[in-house]
Amino acid sequence: MALNTLPNAGLTNRGYPSDRLVTPIIINGDMSVAQRGTSFSFSSSSGFTVDRFDFERTSGATGDCTITQESDAPSNTGLVKSVKIAVDTAETPTGGGNCLFQQKLEGFNVAPLEHGQSNPPSATLSFWVKSNKTGTYSVQVKAEGSTGRYVLFDYTISSANTWEKKIITWVGDTSVALDYDSSRRLRVIWHLASGPNDKVSPTSSWATSSIFQMSSNAVNFFDDASNEIYFTGVQLEVGEFDSTSIPAFPFESFANNLNRCMRYCQKNPQTSSGGDYKVTASGFADGASLALCSINPFSVEMRTVPSLTSSGSFRIHKSGGASSVSGVTIDSDTSGSTSFTIRCTTSSLTSGQGVFLEQSNDSDAHIILDAEL
């Protein structure tokens, strides 16, 4: 059991009763784990950035920006990393276009919010933010049960280029339950720009809608190519807290944080350090041009059967030599959420040979397995 899931004896400085479990609902809220890399460019595209946080744009917006993991964080907080979103091309979204930064939460992790119950607790979102562009921004909490529901809040960045801590509290939704399953059931969304169709008044009462909604009070963060905004220290607490009572950021060990991220994404090999021929998987030759190589078992069970993408050069290492790999795909017969078999297209194998799938003089070659929400 991870340390942070133990009853919080010794952790009462976080303000919890002694029997409270303290596994953070938001994963990687300190932006420290970045398996996919530390710099991401988007233009008419969406995708993940640091682990568990993704940028999404919808039709009507281009979302031309660069998102980076930064070593810039508010002082005296213990936070070290942040995410910076820098606009590359100014735009004003049209229609229902949106540009937003978000974390999607799995149904298994949001049960403590007790949506659909007669007396659900309050919830409090806290985060640090910094931007050169001051003004009103908005956060949408979007529930995805049988009916789409949301609350929408304004927050203000008062001072340019200064870290500010924001705290937002709401009461849980009594009307629509969130299924207890491995599907996407809640999103915390930091809106950056929206077209006119999706702008509405903020509301602290749960309203029905299944689309993105940005506050009509909010600035267009994408209105200037010099705009940039930083986020870190994101935490979602059960209970009503203010600036004086909010518990300290729920730090986990880096290893625990990485393990929780690996339910959704696993990079293999994990780092580029070490040799240029690190082994990714092992298996056997299934004919002259196909090797079946398994990662078995995963160190953490993934949320569902993952997708695979690869980067860099790989080879099949066999007795007496090696053959380059021209393609890797999932072997759907033998892959699941706890193990994964890779079909490697190669050459010059002898059926039944034992083989390794390894980097080919490329220390950064890697495979990404993705079971994100």
Partner: protein, 55 residues
């Protein structure tokens, strides 16, 4: 956004090779909880056609 989707057969089942407009390529399982498979379903609903070379 998805550009092309091709069915890839294993011995007893199949997966999908998905190429996005930004050039990224994913190998995707036939699994309703997988987000890339959900995107394939949405792409097909919007008129996309999966290339099927046969088993």
């Amino acid at each position: 956004m998805i550009n092309t989707v091709k069915k890839i057969y294993s011995k007893n089942s199949f997966s999908y090779k998905v190429i996005y407009t930004d050039g990224t390529e994913w190998s995707v399982p036939h699994n309703e909880e997988n987000r890339h498979y959900q995107e394939i379903l949405e792409w097909v609903a919007n008129g996309g056609t999966i290339t099927d070379p046969g088993a």
